[in-house]
């Protein structure tokens, strides 16, 4: 068991980091907003945390994480003011733009060492810290569900106009969730930076936010544990396939990627509400039979 843990320690940590990122996308999706700014927020959190640790190593790690979460959520407010007036695909495009602006700023900024990024960041992310953060984020999001705020978010997701005629300040709620998502992404960025020793702009491109979104959607965004499950599934799947491939003597590489893609496609086609809906679907099928 201990051997297993040591062998897969970093893999397990990436499950936690990816779970946080998928939850950060889920936060804005929970009020129906497809925001793809989270790779940018993650980059801001990662750089903030790394710079503090490199320049002021005496600052306690808890405070570093706190600042790395707060700063992106503060930046989310001026971003949200114009872009939250947009709907659907237009919001997605505008937020992708934001992500690219952040990435390019870090590429061109001497203070952050340009495209090379920051290296030799001390490893301060202990597994227990990471999983504590995952637990805190899940707890906060879980308390949101079923609260007055939670109902307002669901109403906005279902029918924004009807929600407004119920007296719900839709813009304020959408803004709050954008900021919360930004905080979670920033936190994940700082945790990752202090785990992999390195931050560089290449790690926060468009592909990164697509990963987060796919993990959230494949897991299922109707339930809180969906994004967590999706992150675990999609982080572990390539590794499991690698193992299986090695056991049965298949060449690594193309076959594994192909199978990865097929499984993803199957989930999206046959479980549109995500992996988390599988037990429910099986039960319904049993009932029908």
């Amino acid at each position: 068991m201990e051997d297993f843990y040591l062998a897969y320690q970093s893999l397990i940590a990436f499950v936690g980091i990816n779970a946080l990122l998928a939850l950060s996308v889920y936060a804005t999706l929970s009020c129906g907003q497809l925001s793809l700014a989270n790779a940018g927020f993650m980059a801001i959190g990662a750089y903030t945390g790394a710079l503090i640790t490199l320049h002021a190593p005496q600052v306690p790690f808890g405070l570093v994480l706190f600042i790395s979460a707060i700063l992106p959520s503060i930046i989310a407010v001026p971003l949200g003011l114009p872009v939250l007036r947009l709907r659907g695909v237009f919001l997605a495009i505008a937020t992708i733009g934001f992500g690219e602006v952040v990435r390019l700023a870090f590429v061109n900024w001497d203070f952050t060492n340009g495209a090379l990024g920051l290296v030799a960041i001390p490893q301060r992310t202990q597994p227990w810290i990471l999983w504590l953060m995952v637990a805190v984020v899940i707890f906060v999001l879980a308390r949101l569900r079923g609260s007055r705020t939670g109902y307002a978010l669901e109403a906005i997701r279902e029918d924004e106009t009807a929600a407004r005629t119920m007296g719900i300040e839709t813009t304020r709620y959408k803004m709050a969730m954008l900021a919360l998502g930004a905080a979670i992404a920033g936190l994940a960025g700082a945790l990752e930076a202090h785990f992999t020793f390195i931050v560089s702009p290449a790690g926060y491109g468009f592909g990164r936010v697509v990963d987060m979104l796919v993990q959230a959607v494949v897991g299922g965004t109707a339930m809180l544990f969906g994004p967590v499950l999706g992150a675990a599934f999609l982080t572990l799947l390539p590794e499991i396939l690698r193992e299986i491939g090695a056991r049965i003597g298949l060449a690594p590489g193309p076959f594994r990627l192909f199978l990865n893609g097929v499984i993803l496609l199957v989930v999206i086609l046959y479980l549109p509400e995500g992996i988390i809906s599988l037990p429910q679907r099986l039960r319904r099928r049993k009932k029908a039979a």
């Binding site: 308390r143 609260s147 007055r148 669901e154 279902e158 106009t161 009807a162 119920m166």
Partner: protein
């Protein structure tokens, strides 16, 4: 209570509401009738703030509301239902009503986050009130059904319960009995009367003329966006302009 003064709304060159002036008194059931396309729904949209009037003013208890966004107007005490039903389809009937309570609930997030008992008590009270609200429209036993699985008539009644959950001073009903069978419609009529007796005003858009005649204290008749008649049901029933609008000039 509600005063509309020279309200005009144009879409391109079309005057959907043309110089409408009328008032709805406190505790009154006020009918708004007229042939299809007369501008009734547009008028409700103007009052609830979904669109601003091109000119003219709308005032609730003397306060101008015609430039406010819908959520502010709702906060001042105007709730509504929709002709083309806008329930939160993915939520259960009772959850729809809980959303309707939004303006009346005092429940900051922090106590809930900290698992304080007062937050739980407030939630239980809200949920119980939502069940009671559904009981009032006769849907207590359908409370946990997803809104999208309810029948047409049931959905209309959930919408009324959701609108009432805000505790409005003025309730706007857009064809609340459309698609209902006669007993269901009679049940809605009874409910509207009860709501008015609580001192709330009701502005009722309805095609069922018999129901309007029975139910309303006063009626305003629109045709091509213009107010062509107003008065008690008895007066409206005899008004030549109304008869002409409904039956054509040759009648």
């Amino acid at each position: 209570m509600l005063t509309l003064t020279n309200v005009l709304r144009t879409f391109g060159g079309v005057k959907a509401v043309d110089d409408a002036t009328f008032t709805v008194e406190k505790g009154e059931v006020h009918g708004l009738i007229g042939p299809n396309g007369a501008g009734k729904t547009t008028l409700l949209n103007l009052i609830s703030g979904l669109m601003p009037p091109t000119s003219g003013s709308i005032a609730l208890e003397g306060k101008r509301v015609d430039r406010l966004p819908p959520q502010k107007i709702a906060a001042l005490g105007i709730s509504r239902t929709y002709q083309n039903i806008r329930l939160f389809a993915g939520l259960s009937a009772v959850d729809n009503v809980v959303v309707g309570q939004h303006l009346r609930r005092q429940s900051p997030f922090l106590p809930r986050l900290l698992l304080l008992p007062k937050a739980r008590l407030e939630e239980q009270a809200a949920r119980k009130a939502a069940f009671d609200g559904l009981a009032r429209v006769g849907l207590r036993e359908r409370a946990l059904t997803p809104a999208s699985s309810l029948s047409y008539g049931e959905q209309r009644r959930v919408e009324i319960a959701r609108a009432l959950a805000a505790g409005p001073k003025l309730l706007l009903l857009d064809e609340p009995t459309a698609g209902m069978n006669p007993p269901e419609a009679a049940e809605v009529a009874r409910l509207v009367r009860e709501v008015a007796r609580e001192g709330r005003s009701v502005l009722l858009v309805e095609h069922n003329v018999r129901l309007v005649m029975e139910l309303c204290d006063r009626i305003t008749v629109l045709n091509f966006g213009k107010v062509i008649a107003r008065g008690t049901p008895a007066e409206i029933g005899k008004d030549p302009a109304v008869i002409a609008a409904y039956l054509g000039d040759g009648a």
